[in-house]
């Protein structure tokens, strides 16, 4: 048999456009498989020449799903340029809206993008693996998804004035304080949100036994992990320090101020994708592959720091006897634990008396010509790095987007899944669905993560050993 290449395009139920190529050898087995991000955005160049004060609003436009994350990292970079630290109320409010963003994004991934695979199985007919079928057979679950996402979105609207692209997060803090009524409005939604999150976790854990083969082969390999932790070593999404660990749990780097990220993270460019490939510099490219996002955050943290989440965190840690959990399928598990943490933490933050303080913003003129802002976005660690002139005009921008951090690991995952499930002599829809599903584990947001014009639809391409495309399978 000739070598062939399979192309999956577009990759479905993800945010953005991508395609997958699978190279088959002469025996019909998978030689290699790669994900190619085919859209180009170019925000790093678009922003040059703009006043730094525009950056939070400009960069938030990168994405309709995680604009808050961009606004947070961007304003933190601007804080650096002003050389200010926002007042406690401003920091708390930023933390709350960041967690709300994470909750709504995680809910979207779990219920709307990934749940059809959990409910119907990866081999279910493709016409059944969608939200319409979910509505028919599991309306309560579909309702939970909407309700939990609404919880996060309403907090964003409540604080930021609108659900998408709020402009409330500003350099130095936030633009206005919250009232007791706003606080009460959010607090009264907490019990329902927590019930849904707990129900979801129970459903997921109870059904894990059905997916042992996927757990074993969906991006299950040694890698480094990176994430922010707070001064106690616990889970952190807004501030804190970078920590790198290896697959055995050994701490490679700790307490790194994110502004020095370039000492530890290199960015490789590959010719077949617009997504950069960051790597841990001391190990070089591509050996310095690391993972970020919910799985990595739970792996690098010593605890969550809230009661209910810590209870689940302990069970999560036991999956690999206290060592880092290496199976990327468990991104879904970690995502639900983070939802529980987010709900608890929002309640804690709202109940801190300083949160209602009216001193919410620090003011200053430009004091530095460089600023790096870093936070944890739903999909992982997000860096905004700006250079400005003395009058505050942006002269350089570097963005390392959460999804980009995972690029090397996503590719390794796609290859592993393809080699486990794809048989070139008998290509089944279930196998191709699994190749896409490993990508959904990472929940990539491709609109956010490519900075180069235009949108190309994404497909699965099958190529022979001469790299000639012998089949293109359109997935949408």
């Amino acid at each position: 048999m000739e070598k062939k290449k399979i192309v999956i395009s577009p990759v479905t139920r993800i945010e953005g456009h991508a395609k997958i190529t699978i190279d088959l050898n002469e025996q019909g087995s998978v030689d290699n498989a790669r994900i190619h991000v085919t859209q180009f955005r170019g925000f790093e160049k678009i922003c040059e020449g703009r006043p730094y004060t525009e950056m939070p609003a400009l960069t938030a436009r990168t994405c309709g799903i995680c604009p808050v994350s961009h606004a947070i990292s961007s304003t933190k970079a601007c804080d650096e340029i002003l050389a200010v630290r926002p007042p406690k109320a401003g920091r708390n409010l930023r933390r709350i809206i960041n967690l709300a963003q994470i909750i709504q994004s995680h809910a979207l991934n779990f219920y709307h993008l990934s749940a059809p695979d959990f409910v119907y199985g990866f081999d279910a007919k493709k016409e059944d693996r969608n939200i319409f079928k979910m509505i028919q057979t599991n309306p309560e679950m579909a309702k939970d998804g909407i309700q939990l996402r609404a919880f996060g979105q309403k907090i964003i609207e409540n604080l930021g004035g609108k659900r998408i692209h709020p402009t409330w997060i500003v350099p130095g803090g936030v633009s206005h304080a919250i009232t007791q009524e706003q606080k009460d409005e959010i607090l009264k939604q907490i019990p329902q949100a927590m019930d849904i999150a707990q129900r979801t976790l129970k459903y997921f854990v109870n059904n894990l036994h059905k997916f042992q083969k996927e757990i074993d082969s969906f991006g299950n390999f040694p890698s480094l992990f990176m994430g922010l932790v707070n001064k106690h070593g616990n889970l952190e999404h807004y501030d804190g320090f970078l920590r790198f660990i290896d697959s055995e749990g050994k701490v490679l780097e700790n307490g790194i101020d994110p502004k020095f990220y370039k000492n530890y993270i290199g960015e490789a460019v590959e010719k077949d994708t617009y997504l950069k490939s960051p790597y841990y510099k001391p190990l070089g490219y591509p050996n310095g592959m690391y993972r970020v996002g919910p799985l990595a955050r739970l792996n690098v943290a010593d605890a969550c720091g809230t009661p209910l989440a810590d209870k689940e965190f302990e069970k999560f840690k036991n999956l690999n006897n206290g060592k880092p959990v290496l199976n990327s399928f468990y991104y879904h598990y970690a995502r639900i634990i983070e939802i529980i943490y987010g709900i608890e933490r929002i309640e804690e933050l709202l109940n801190e008396p300083q949160t209602l303080d009216e001193n919410i913003r620090s003011h200053a003129n430009i004091n530095r010509t460089k600023g790096v802002g870093c936070s944890e976005a739903p999909r992982g660690t997000l860096f905004h790095d700006y250079d400005v002139s003395n009058d505050g005009i942006i002269t350089g921008v570097n963005l390392i987007i959460a999804t980009g951090n995972n690029n090397l690991a996503m590719n390794a995952g796609v290859k592993q899944v393809a080699q486990t499930f794809v048989d070139g002599n008998n290509i089944t829809d279930g196998a191709l669905n699994r190749v896409e599903a490993i990508i959904r584990c990472f929940d990539p947001c491709l609109s956010c993560s490519t900075h180069a014009l235009g949108i190309v639809s994404s497909n699965i391409e099958i190529r022979d050993h001469h790299k000639k495309i012998v089949n293109i399978i359109h997935r949408n």
């Binding site: 139920r13 993008l113 969608n130 309403k154």
Partner: protein, 138 residues
């Protein structure tokens, strides 16, 4: 409920939002207005008690020559759900999950220009025509 949606930074894509802005000056009975960047799943929760929904959007038409036609051309085949969804999906969610069957209609302005407003006078005329039509129906 009248929902206008689109990205006001992308020229004619902001048509729905511009209609809503204009409708705010009309005295519409028993009517709520929503202006939003995109339709999202949780929007359903705002529509549970609604008897009729009007969606207003800019509709891509490849060969549009800036005649600013108004019409309805929704052939929705995409059943994938993401962070933004189609009017059809909103209606399906309302029916399937919440057993709600509001009447609905979709007003679209055909365009192939999501960069700028090509002819501002004709664009504004289209906004006015939809507003007048809705206010007369009301």
């Amino acid at each position: 409920m009248i929902i206008g949606y689109g990205n006001t930074l992308r020229g004619e894509d902001g048509f729905g939002c511009d209609v809503i802005k204009k409708l705010e000056n009309y005295d519409l009975k028993d009517t709520k207005l929503i202006s939003t960047f995109q339709l999202t799943p949780e929007l359903c929760l705002d529509l549970l008690e609604v008897s009729e929904i009007i969606f207003i959007d800019a509709c891509y038409l490849e060969n549009e020559k800036y005649h600013y036609h108004l019409g309805c051309s929704i052939k929705e085949e995409n059943i994938n759900l993401s962070h933004h969804i189609s009017p059809k999906m909103i209606i399906k969610l309302l029916e399937g999950i919440y057993s709600k069957k509001p009447q609905y209609s979709i007003f679209g302005m055909f365009t192939n220009n999501f960069v700028q407003i090509h002819q501002i006078n004709k664009y504004n005329e289209s906004v006015d025509r939809i507003c007048d039509f809705i206010s007369h129906q009301n």
